[in-house]
C-alpha cells in the first residue's frame, strides 16, 4: 500500500544519522592503523559481542521477550566453526551459511517452545533450553571435545587470512552487513509486528497477526545473527568451548542491552563496548575487577534503567524543553509543535 512519505525533518534527521554513521565507520576502519595488537583484539571482541547483543535485543528489547538462553545460539555458531573448520575444508562462505541456518533452526525451536510463555516463565524456559544445549555440547565429547572444547581453529579459510588487522576488517564488514540487515528487518512489517508483540499481543491479534508466528520469527532472526557473532568469536579466539554456551554469557548479554539501552537499536552494542572497555580498564587497576563491574551493574539498575542512550535522550528532551520554555522564545511565539520532540540521530527510541 502507498503511504505518504516521511516529512522533511525526518529526511534531514536520516541524513544526519547517515553522516554520523559514515564518520564512525571511517574511524572504525582506521583503528588497525593506530591500535596495538592487543587492543585490536579487544576491538574485534567488542564487534562480535556487540553484534550478539544487538541480535539478542530483537527478542528482548523489541519483542519484549526476556531470554536467558541466548548463549545457546552464540555457542552453536562457535561450534559450527569449530567442527567445520577442523574436520573439513569447507569454504568460509559455506561455514557462514551453515552458521546462519543452524542459528535460525535453533531459533525456531526456541520460538516454538515459547509460543505462549511470558515473563519469568519465558526466562526459565529459555534458560532450560540453553542448559540442555550446554549439556549436549558438554557430553558429545567426540563431536565437541567435551569440557576441553575445540581448539586450533585457524583463519586459513577466511578471506585475506593472516593478520589480525585483516580479520578485524572482515569482522567489521560482517557486523556492518548484519546490523544493516537487522535494522531493515526491524523496519519491515514483520519487524513492526514483533515490536507490536511487546506492546500488546491481543491488539496485534485483532489486527490479523498470528502472534505465535511472530514470536518464532523473532527468535529465528535473533538466533541466526547471534550464531554469526559466535562464529566471529570462535575465529578470533581460535577455540569453541562449553563456556560459549554458558548461562553467564546469557546474563551478560542481557546486561549489555540494559546498560546501553534496550529501547534503542544501537543501545546493546554500546553496552557491550562500554562493559568490555571497562573490564579491560578496571582489570589493569585491580584484581577485583569483577567486584567493580558488579557495582556498575547495580548502579545501572538503580539509576539508569533506560540505559546510557535512554539517559542521553532524557537529557536532550530536558534541554529542548528548557529552550522551548525560555521567555525569549515564548515571546517570539516559537514552538516545537510540528517537529517531534524526541527524534535523535543514533538514539532513535523505539519504546519507553
Amino acid at each position: 500500500m502507498n503511504l505518504p512519505s516521511p516529512g522533511d525533518h525526518v529526511k534531514s534527521r536520516r541524513l544526519r544519522s547517515a553522516v554520523v554513521l559514515g564518520v564512525l565507520l571511517l574511524v572504525l576502519l582506521a583503528l588497525p592503523f593506530v591500535l596495538p595488537s592487543f587492543y585490536l583484539f579487544v576491538a574485534t571482541r567488542i564487534l562480535a559481542l556487540g553484534l550478539f547483543a544487538t541480535a539478542f535485543n530483537i527478542v528482548f528489547g523489541f519483542g519484549g521477550m526476556p531470554s536467558l538462553g541466548h548463549a545457546a545460539f552464540f555457542g552453536l555458531g562457535a561450534y559450527v566453526v569449530g567442527i567445520a573448520s577442523t574436520r573439513s575444508d569447507l569454504p568460509f562462505v559455506v561455514i557462514v551459511v551453515l552458521t546462519l541456518v543452524a542459528g535460525t533452526a535453533l531459533g525456531v525451536v526456541f520460538g516454538l517452545f515459547n509460543l505462549r510463555a511470558k515473563g519469568i516463565y519465558l526466562l526459565l524456559l529459555t534458560l532450560a533450553l540453553a542448559q540442555a544445549a550446554y549439556g549436549l555440547a558438554f557430553q558429545q565429547v567426540e563431536l565437541t571435545g567435551g569440557d576441553n572444547g575445540i581448539s586450533g581453529i585457524t583463519r586459513e579459510g577466511v578471506p585475506i587470512p593472516g593478520s589480525a588487522s585483516a580479520f578485524y576488517w572482515l569482522a567489521l564488514a560482517m557486523v556492518v552487513v548484519s546490523l544493516s540487515l537487522m535494522w531493515a528487518f526491524m523496519r519491515s512489517p514483520v519487524g513492526m509486528a514483533i515490536t507490536g508483540l511487546r506492546e500488546s499481543e491481543s491488539r496485534l491479534a485483532a489486527t490479523g497477526y498470528r502472534v505465535g508466528s511472530y514470536r518464532v520469527y523473532a527468535f529465528a532472526v535473533s538466533g541466526a545473527f547471534s550464531a554469526v557473532a559466535g562464529l566471529l568469536d570462535a575465529y578470533l579466539l581460535g577455540s569453541a568451548s562449553p563456556s560459549n554456551m554458558a548461562f553467564l554469557l546469557s546474563a551478560e548479554v542481557m546486561v549489555f542491552a540494559i546498560l546501553g539501552g534496550a529501547a534503542f537499536f544501537f543501545g546493546p552494542f554500546l553496552g557491550a563496548a562500554v562493559i568490555l572497555s571497562l573490564e579491560l580498564y578496571v582489570s589493569t587497576l585491580t584484581s577485583r575487577w569483577t567486584f567493580v563491574l558488579g557495582i556498575v551493574y547495580v548502579l545501572t539498575a538503580l539509576f539508569m534503567s533506560d540505559g546510557i542512550l535512554g539517559r542521553i535522550a532524557y537529557l536532550r528532551r530536558r534541554a529542548r524543553r528548557k529552550t522551548a520554555e525560555s521567555p525569549t522564545r515564548a515571546a517570539a511565539g516559537e514552538t516545537d509543535v510540528a517537529v517531534p520532540a524526541d527524534t535523535d540521530d543514533l538514539v532513535e527510541e523505539r519504546h519507553t
Partner: protein, 253 residues
C-alpha cells in the same frame, strides 16, 4: 453479515452477557447504546474473538467464529477500533498504518484518503504514536481500522475523548464507510452522534438487548425512552456529558 445468537460471556466467574442476540446486515450500520458496565465492550470483544463465549454462537459472513482466534476473525474481514485509543505507542503513525493496512479493492481506503479526514495525523506522521495526544491516538486507532479495509467494522466508543471538531470528522468518516458499503457496529455513549448516522439502534442493559428500533431518528426525539433506558433526558445531554469510565476491564490491553 454478523449474527450473534444467545451469547453468554464471562469474565472469570462474572457473567457479563446474558443470552445476547443481535445482527448486523450487509452494508448496515447498527448503533449499540447503553450505560456503563452493561456489557457493550464485552460484546465487541466477544465478536472480535478476544473473549470466548461460554454459550451461544457468533456467525460472520456465514461462518461460525465463536471458537476462532482473533487473528483469523480479523483476516475474515473484521476490523476493530478498540476503546481507549489503543494503538502501538512505540511505532510511528506511519508504521501503525503500515502494520494495519490491507488493501485489496479499488474502493478500499488508502492512507491518503484516511488522512484527509484526520489531517492532524499527517503532521505527526513520523512521530511515535505514544507521543500523540489522546485525541490523535483515537484518530489513529480509527485510521488503522479504516486501512484494514474490513467488511465489518467494530467501533468501540470511537469518539471518546475527542474535541467537537474531531468528533465531526469521525462522524464524516463513519458516514463515508457507510456510503462505501462497509457494515459497522457502532458502540457509543454519545446518543445524538449515534442515532444521527445508524440504520438501526439497540440498547444493551445488563448484558441483554432490551430495546431495538429501525427508526433511530424517532428515538432521538423520544426523551422518555432515553431517560428510562439510558438515563439521559435528551440525545444532546448524552453527547455533552462525559460518561463514567467503563467498569469492564478491557482485554485489548
Amino acid at each position: 453479515m454478523l449474527e450473534i445468537d444467545s451469547v453468554d460471556t464471562y469474565y472469570g466467574s462474572s457473567q457479563i452477557l446474558h443470552g445476547t442476540s443481535l445482527s448486523v446486515g450487509e452494508g448496515e450500520v447498527v448503533g449499540l447504546l447503553g450505560r456503563n458496565g452493561m456489557g457493550k465492550s464485552t460484546l465487541v470483544h466477544t465478536v472480535a474473538g478476544l473473549l470466548k463465549p461460554r454459550r451461544g454462537q457468533v456467525t460472520f459472513r456465514g461462518r461460525r467464529i465463536s471458537s476462532l482466534a482473533a487473528e483469523r476473525i480479523s483476516r475474515l474481514g473484521m476490523s476493530l477500533v478498540p476503546q481507549g485509543h489503543r494503538i502501538f505507542p512505540s511505532l510511528t503513525v506511519r508504521e501503525n498504518f503500515r502494520i494495519a493496512s490491507r488493501r485489496v479493492g479499488d474502493r478500499d481506503w488508502t492512507a491518503d484518503e484516511v488522512l484527509e479526514y484526520f489531517p492532524a495525523l499527517r503532521e505527526r506522521w513520523s512521530v511515535p504514536a505514544g507521543k500523540l495526544s489522546g485525541g490523535q491516538q483515537q484518530m489513529l486507532a480509527m485510521g488503522r481500522a479504516m486501512v484494514c479495509n474490513g467488511k465489518l467494522m467494530l467501533l468501540d466508543e470511537p469518539t471518546e475523548g475527542l474535541d467537537p471538531q474531531t468528533v465531526g470528522r469521525m462522524g464524516e468518516a463513519i458516514d463515508e464507510l457507510r456510503r462505501r458499503g462497509t457494515s459497522a457496529l457502532l458502540v457509543e455513549q454519545k446518543v445524538g452522534f449515534t442515532l444521527e448516522r445508524v440504520d438501526r439502534a439497540l440498547i444493551l442493559s445488563r448484558g441483554q438487548v432490551i430495546y431495538e428500533t429501525d427508526r433511530p431518528q424517532l428515538l432521538r426525539a423520544d426523551t422518555q425512552t432515553l431517560r428510562r433506558l439510558i438515563g439521559v433526558s435528551s440525545a444532546h445531554e448524552a453527547d455533552g456529558s462525559r460518561a463514567i469510565a467503563d467498569e469492564n476491564e478491557s482485554p485489548v490491553g
